[in-house]
């Protein structure tokens, strides 16, 4: 169980790790993305979701890594795992409905939680884009078949659009029952976690609304960064900050701030190997 003494001094990314961890429940099968979401899943597993099963795209199910996971195909994904299998089998289990929650990011999101991680048209189009993004990867599959998804994306007007340029990952499409109509019988986003606030979705219209703002953030600030006429919850909450316990664990999970800072830029090989050695001991 969680220790509810709140931490004083934490970074934004540390805050986001705890925010994502709080969206996960015990006994869930979690399709973890890279970076902050992975840390969130690992943190949840070390606190309130000890029986959660983490799945990584390459084919590792239920690992118990004693180190940070540097990507969805990193070895920690099969470290002491319950099942080492293949990508197609793991995604098939998700299509069958065995995965409770998936974590997604993207470059653009719209009011119905549709995500774009493929291309930004700018003055061009799909064939001659202003910016070519990496592509869907597994995001479309997670968005189509996970029982629910969490979206993590920075709050910026250019990212929060009435309609994304290109739907890489379906949210609620045009809202209401339009998702079911195209043949997606389950799923859809349950929340959008940003650097300033958390959005949730209206059960009927499926439109995103402001549910909570992070400490020190105003509702107006949020509305200014959204391109549509944002609906706001009648009782907007303040997002719960990290507890002391959570913060301690995050710093154990990512001691060199590869995710929670810019540790990646300047880490040497020697420091990296030491980090791994120490991580083995600290768990």
């Amino acid at each position: 169980m969680e220790n509810t003494k709140y931490a004083e001094d934490y970074s934004l990314s540390e805050f986001l790790v705890t925010a994502s961890a709080r969206e996960l429940n015990d006994n869930e099968t979690i399709f973890a993305g890279v970076g902050i979401p992975t840390l969130g899943a690992l943190l949840a597993k070390l606190t309130h979701a000890k029986n959660a099963i983490i799945a990584t795209e390459c084919g590792g199910i239920g690992p118990q890594p004693k180190r940070i996971m540097l990507g969805i195909g990193d070895n920690p994904g099969v470290e002491d795992c319950l099942i080492a299998t293949s990508l197609w089998r793991l995604f098939s289990d998700q299509q069958r409905g065995y995965f409770d929650v998936g974590m997604l990011g993207g470059a653009q999101v719209d009011k119905y939680g549709n995500l774009n991680s493929t291309t930004i048209f700018g003055d061009g189009d799909y064939y001659t884009p202003a910016t070519r993004l990496p592509g869907s990867g597994g995001a479309n599959d997670i968005a189509s078949s996970a029982k629910r998804t969490l979206i993590m994306i920075p709050l910026q007007k250019r990212r929060f659009l009435e309609r994304v340029d290109y739907v890489s990952s379906p949210g609620y499409l045009e809202g209401y029952d339009s998702r079911e109509k195209v043949g997606l019988s389950r799923g859809g986003p349950s929340s959008i976690i940003t650097n300033k606030c958390i959005f949730r979705f209206d059960p009927v219209s499926k439109e995103a609304y402001l549910d909570s703002v992070h400490p020190g953030v105003t509702v107006e600030e949020v509305c200014n960064e959204v391109s549509w006429d944002l609906k706001v919850s009648p009782d907007v909450k303040i997002t719960e900050p990290p507890t002391v316990e959570q913060l301690t664990l995050i710093r154990m999970l990512d001691p060199n701030q590869l995710y929670t800072g810019d540790g990646l830029k300047n880490i040497t090989f020697e420091k990296y190997i030491d980090m791994l050695e120490n991580s083995l001991l600290s768990f």
Binding site: L87, R132, V167, R179
Partner: protein, 308 residues
């Protein structure tokens, strides 16, 4: 020719020989690995032999996709994702698609699972396979090979994916015998289906072992000899990426590499220094340094001990 190779009892070749013999210009290529276990040495060899007009089919072939794009080897990519995940974006891929540097590449977008299903359909030799992915998204709008159809049993909407049959699959596993029976420790991404779906398969492995050793653990054999044309022993083939139960991810190396890829000049320098000016993978390993490689293997064993 293919059948003769697939029936040989000793299929060992050097990587150079295997690529020279089997990988032709204007052909369709696939590499195993996803996130980790990526075919880096194999990609460098294809570049070293200056192949042209290659179509690449893969889920998220970061290293292969970005390096081949930068080296001007590719005509088309049928993929779900091209970037180095934590280490950074695929700047060569972006330059090719956005600015046509070194030349334009046609991209056909899929998702990781639907590429996986295309290899499954290819492996079991059915012309297409249905899925619930891609419904409602914009992928089918721009990719005519994805068909939105109705399930003839229920009338429900379903997406259809065409089987993938690459001319050559280059598949990397933990170990194999010289007949081509390949065993994998840890995740296998789509390796077992790529090997079966392709017309020709080059099986590379960290270690060649006896057939008797393979027989001790028949449940671990994911690639059968009858679909393999060549077997190549290729230790540390994935460096800087990780290989399960073998070596850890060398992310400091990758960070330096990708910093250099930010500019076209930087990439050209890199590919000359790390590919063209090196005779083979052996020379690459010498250049990386065996002390460093050994450290990556040593640290991995502390986290994942092999019980086979």
């Amino acid at each position: 020719m293919s059948d003769n190779l697939k029936k040989k009892a000793d299929k060992r070749m050097s990587l150079g020989e295997a690529v020279a013999e089997l990988v032709k210009d204007n052909s369709v290529l696939s590499f195993s690995g996803m996130g980790g276990a990526q075919c880096v040495a194999q990609t460098y060899e294809v570049i070293r032999q200056r192949r042209k007009n290659i179509t690449l089919i893969g889920d998220s072939p970061c290293e292969a996709g970005d390096l081949l794009a930068g080296a001007g080897v590719l005509k088309k990519m049928e993929i779900a994702f091209c970037a180095y995940a934590v280490a950074g974006l695929g700047d060569n891929f972006r330059r090719a698609v956005e600015k046509g540097i070194p030349h334009k590449i046609e991209v056909e977008d899929y998702s990781n699972y639907t590429i996986g299903l295309r290899f499954l359909a290819g492996a079991i030799n059915i012309p297409y396979i249905p899925s619930k992915s891609l419904l409602g998204s914009d992928l089918p709008k721009y990719n005519k090979n994805i068909k939105i159809d109705k399930d003839p049993y229920s009338g429900e909407p379903i997406s259809l994916l065409p089987a993938a049959h690459p001319d050559v699959a280059i598949v990397h596993v933990s170990r194999a015998d010289m007949r081509g029976n390949g065993q994998m420790f840890g995740f296998s991404s789509n390796a077992e289906n790529m090997a079966r779906a392709a017309k020709h398969t080059i099986l590379t492995c960290e270690e060649i072992v006896s057939t008797d050793e393979i027989r001790k653990f028949g449940n671990l054999t994911i690639v059968p000899e009858y679909c393999v044309d060549a077997v190549v022993e290729l230790p540390y083939a994935c460096h800087p990426w990780n290989m399960p139960f073998a070596y850890a991810y060398d992310i400091p190396f990758h960070s330096k590499q990708l910093a250099q890829f930010k500019t076209r000049e930087g990439f050209e320098q890199w590919i000359n220094e790390w590919c063209f000016s090196l005779k083979d993978h052996e020379a690459y390993l010498e250049k990386v340094g065996y002390k460093r490689l050994n450290d990556l293997a040593r640290i991995e064993r502390k986290f994942c001990k092999l019980n086979y």
